[in-house]
Amino acid sequence: METLLLWLRPLMLVAAGLALALLSTRLLRRYTAEHFSQHQRVLLQRLVFYAIMTIFLLMALRQSGFQIGVLLGAAGILTVAIGFASQTSASNVISGLFLLAEKPFELGQLIEVDGNRGVVVSIDLLSVKLRTLENLYVRIPNETLIKTRVINLSRFPIRRIDLPVGVAYGEDLDRVRAILIDLVNNDSRCMEEPVPFVFMQQFGASSVDLMLHFWVRQEDFRQLRSDMLFAIKAAFDREGVEIPFPHTSLYAGKHSTPIRIALETGNGLKDSASGESSL
């Protein structure tokens, strides 16, 4: 009976601590929604949860007769042993702390790491979890995030869209530029400033390569990029602007000699003529 009581009290303390920690995080979640970002809310909830649990665990250990000083000494030796045994985990934990301090991204932001592009759904002790645009769940160790290049696609409110557009060499480029700028100006989702512009990139193999640059709200980026490509195709069709594609010309030895073309029917050779050698 005495032994049962000896363990019952610490267990009750742990249970009470758990209940209090859960209640506190729930209250924090409810009352901090307006004033803090999602990222800050989660951090605050975890901090409060672990602080309360640590206090109650220490109280429970003290109730059980453990000497906290001895425990801390033992913990020191244990830490060295565990540190050697779990270098990767320790590295991830430390990397996680650096990430928290540096804050290169927050929960809910769209990032790209090692070719994985997704929304940050969780920032944990060992790893960061992403939900990709294809709805895949990707776990990235914190150490990787420290070592590799991370692109935050949601950091700034506006983004620039760069659309490559190729037109035939015979087209009037001033007219093409006016058509492209009009398309941007007529879409109210595109920013008037920074001013949209058309940049001439190069004389390509089969087209004059232009680049249309314009700015949009970050959340409109994907949709507007697609919508603008549709609009460009429709506008070029309407205005008779040719979008060229690569052509291949075949020559039968000499540059100037045309290839002979023969039409065959069921009865054999019917007609033959010399024609244009391009196919």
Partner: protein
């Protein structure tokens, strides 16, 4: 259909009015044509239906045409359905200013000498709020002419997304063209610096401004505005002490003097707290 408040309604060929309450019968559709916006509101037994269509117009039509239709409209892509709780079949259209600051650029740069001041009149496009029932529950709001977006800030990292507008920066009230879907803001600019001031663009914090409607209009003004009294915001005073970077902004209280007696039709969207005002002052001029 019946109307209350202001005008007598007939079944067809109505003249739309702000804040006028209309009563529809189930199955009826109220079709509105406001310049490039065509808005149809249908009342059914258990729902309200809204359909919108945008029409390209070279010139703004200053008349707001309304008519009642009994035809069943198709389920087009613009259809929005709203559950109708046990509210009265009444419908009100209320004007509202934009929900973001308007960055207004004069067609030609306005130059101001040292120690000079002037008042220019800027007009900003309105949103149409659809309110239903006796409690005037807000169903939705639609920009009558959707303005383009623009960025106002020192670089592409700091700043805010605003709406863009153009102005002729008229200085005479009499020369203002009247359109019922625009609100007029008198902007008083004072250049107290020793350098000339070139106003290329101005950020007008319209979410901080309430909206007033004139009580009295001259017959000419009423005709020009299609029977709708003019809409005004309080005067905004911009003072440049040394340079554009030190410009300060003050919002007037109540309707401007030149508007005459007015009634408040919509409060400011945002409270003009100190922090908000400072934020706007930081990005007053481009």
């Amino acid at each position: 259909m019946s109307t209350s408040n202001k005008t007598q309604a007939v079944d067809n060929g109505l003249q739309g009015q702000w804040c006028q309450t209309l009563t529809l019968q189930p199955g009826q559709t109220l079709v509105n044509e406001l310049s490039g916006l065509h808005l149809s509101v249908t009342l059914l037994d258990h729902e309200w239906q809204l359909r919108t269509e945008r029409v390209d117009r070279d010139v703004e039509d200053s008349h707001w045409h309304q008519r009642i239709s009994h035809e069943t409209l198709p389920d087009d892509s613009s259809l929005q359905r709203f559950i109708r709780s046990r509210e009265a079949p009444r419908l009100t259209f209320r004007p509202a200013l934009a929900d973001r600051s308007m960055v207004i650029r004069p067609y030609n740069t306005l130059q101001m000498g040292p120690d000079a001041s002037c008042t220019i009149y800027l007009s900003t496009v309105l949103w149409l709020q659809v309110l239903v029932g006796d409690a005037q529950r807000l169903l939705t709001e639609i920009p009558i002419m959707p303005p383009s977006s623009t960025w106002m800030g020192p670089n592409t990292m700091e700043g805010e997304i605003c709406y863009a507008g153009k102005t002729y920066a008229r200085m005479l009230r009499e020369s203002l063209p009247m359109r019922p879907w625009r609100a007029i803001t008198p902007v008083h600019i004072r250049n107290r610096g020793q350098e000339p001031l070139a106003m290329e663009r101005l950020s007008l914090p319209v979410p901080l401004l309430p909206l007033y409607q004139q009580k009295q209009v001259t017959p000419g003004e009423a005709e020009a505005a299609g029977g709708n009294p003019w809409l005004w915001t309080p005067e905004v005073t911009v003072t440049c002490e040394k340079s554009l970077a030190t410009a300060s902004l003050a919002l007037g209280q109540g309707a401007p003097v030149e508007a005459g007696p007015c009634t408040l039709v919509a409060g400011a969207r945002e409270n003009a707290g100190k922090g908000t005002l400072v934020r706007h002052i930081d990005r007053l001029f481009g």
